[in-house]
């Protein structure tokens, strides 16, 4: 790809990632959430991969690590609910802990500090989806140059 596309894609990387993080973190107040924000961040990586096909050093081990990290974080949060009530119980909502405030009805701006376990789960899912979709795109774009005998 030409030089203009390469420079513009690197420049556009930061606003797209920040926008994706905004959608992930406000998932309990506005439409959006973990999955949608994760897809937005993945699209940033796909943009960079399409612009630089082989000239950039993005290894797939990093993405595999973040994907596993997101999934393990999610399932540990789900297990922690067992001590209070049942699996996947929202044990931080309506409490005096970290994320425990409640929102009133009616039109207000909402409060980021509410929602219980949901923003943490959104974060885990966002990391996981971003890493997984970037991994799929990495494989599709780069599979011809891989060593064919080594399946990993």
């Amino acid at each position: 790809m030409s030089k203009i596309i390469k420079i513009v894609s690197l420049t556009a990387l930061s606003p797209i990632i920040i926008f994706g993080l905004y959608i992930i973190s406000h998932g309990h107040l506005t439409p959006g959430g973990g999955f949608q924000g994760g897809v937005i961040i993945a699209s940033a990586f796909v943009l960079v991969l399409v612009a630089f096909k082989n000239d950039i050093k993005l290894s797939h081990k990093l993405f595999v690590f973040f994907e596993s990290l997101g999934l393990v974080f999610f399932i540990i949060l789900a297990f922690l609910g067992i001590f209070k009530n049942t699996f996947l119980y929202n044990f931080l909502a309506n409490s005096s802990g970290i994320l425990g405030r409640t929102i009133q009805f009616g039109a207000n701006t909402g409060c980021l500090n509410s929602g219980g376990v949901i923003p943490l789960m959104n974060l885990a899912i966002g990391i996981e989806v971003a890493a997984a979709l970037s991994l799929v795109a990495l494989f599709i774009i780069r599979h011809k140059d891989q060593n064919k005998t080594k399946y990993d």
């Binding site: 595999v64 690590f65 994907e67 596993s68 999934l71 393990v72 399932i75 789900a78 297990f79 067992i82 009530n85 049942t86 699996f87 996947l88 119980y89 929202n90 080594k150 399946y151 990993d152």
Partner: protein, 501 residues
Amino acid sequence: MASNFIILIIAFLFFGAFTIALVHRFGAKFRNSYILSILALINILAVLLYQEVVSKGSLIYTVGAKIPSLYSVQGFPVRIILTADALSGFLVLLFVSIASLVFLYSLQILKEHLSLDKFYILSFLLLAGILGFLITGDFFTLFVFYEINTIATAGLIAFFRNKESLKSSFNYLVVFAIGSLFLLLGVGFLYGKYGALNMVALANNLDFLLLDRIALVFIAAALLLKAGAFPFYFWKPQTYKAMPISAIVLALMSSLAALYVLFKIVFNIFGYNIVLGWTLILFSILSIFVGVFFALKEKSIKRILAYLAISEVGYVILGISAGMMMANSEFGFMAIKGGLFHMVNDVLDISFLFLLVGIIFYISKAKNIFEIRGIGHKYPFLSGLFFFGVLAVAGMPPLNGFASKIIIYESIFHLSPALTILGIMGSILTLAVLIKIFAMIFLGTPSENFRNYKKIPKLAVSTIIIFAIIMLLIGFFPKEFTNSFIDKGASSLINRQDYIH
């Protein structure tokens, strides 16, 4: 904490699947011991779950709240509900033990393959999906686990990345994407009419008008597609040919779990229906005959065994749907018991044959049957085991196939004698197909190079011998087996009032 066992089984399987990718960095031995420890934990949880279900009756578990109240504050019903009764508790225990044996088998047979951690991740996800099928309590969880099964199986089909595996996986995914979208459409019809998705609420409120019948047709078609019964059997042979052997056993269990869900929905929610019953009986007879007739002209052993699996699924559907037709009589209950018993025997027998074929392919590295003709002269032990499996599938007296088939034949004789005659004909043709396979592999003039075969893998053969011992025990003591496990299961299947309460 004590009643969390239902969800802990699936949660620990998911946890194991997610962390294998991290554990894999520390070496193969650590990963193998990690897998075995998670499997041991799952086995213990399955035994505890079954004991609890037997002592306390059906369990209901709500994810996210203490009691399954149907409506939250604003009036929107938002709960995921899991249930376990005697039959699903027993099936969970059975499938978990068979899956543990198959994982032990695969630790030795697939040892030299390079991307083995992905195989274990996919197998754990498939096992979690199968167990989730068995304990689902509302239709949306059913859809989610159906999709988990589809995607995990598609990954396992394309595991050896040769040409026909990739094409088989593509075909499988196209067929099942459409099937699952029709399942979602049927669930959507039910939601639009009644406003609730969990099975107990639908069982209370269902009236059997045109819209419910359309929803039932869509849902039953999607579940029969997963089971591999008559009009939807075409994906099985090419799929089973391309998968690794340990994954074929998991796919078999997935088909039988889908059959269990179909019959749970039909018995408990939609009620007895004459048209549906006779349709299912017709489909089952046609499955039996399709299975044996198309197996006669095939040349690849995995495809022949896949057609035999289709025909055995036909026997299961025949037993249970005939029991549905003779609803309130003694013989109806016996037919249902026969069908469920045959489900257990089917998964044991066909898995035994597949695992044995896997060992033969492992020690000989052959690509098809004709290279290893006459192997019975060098390995008489393996040929003896295969003959044992042939007798079990065909239904010879001291083994388990005979016990379940005789219960099915006796009880459906009272519905219509023609069905018994067709069933016996199918059994004779099954025997013909099996003798053909046995002669193809083990007898005949031996080909040249038997000397550079590997040694027989001890761990894999010992897992197969465990299967054979279980089959012998069930065959010799069928009455004790059915009394302790199957009776409670069958009665919980037809006992509609207890389910609603």
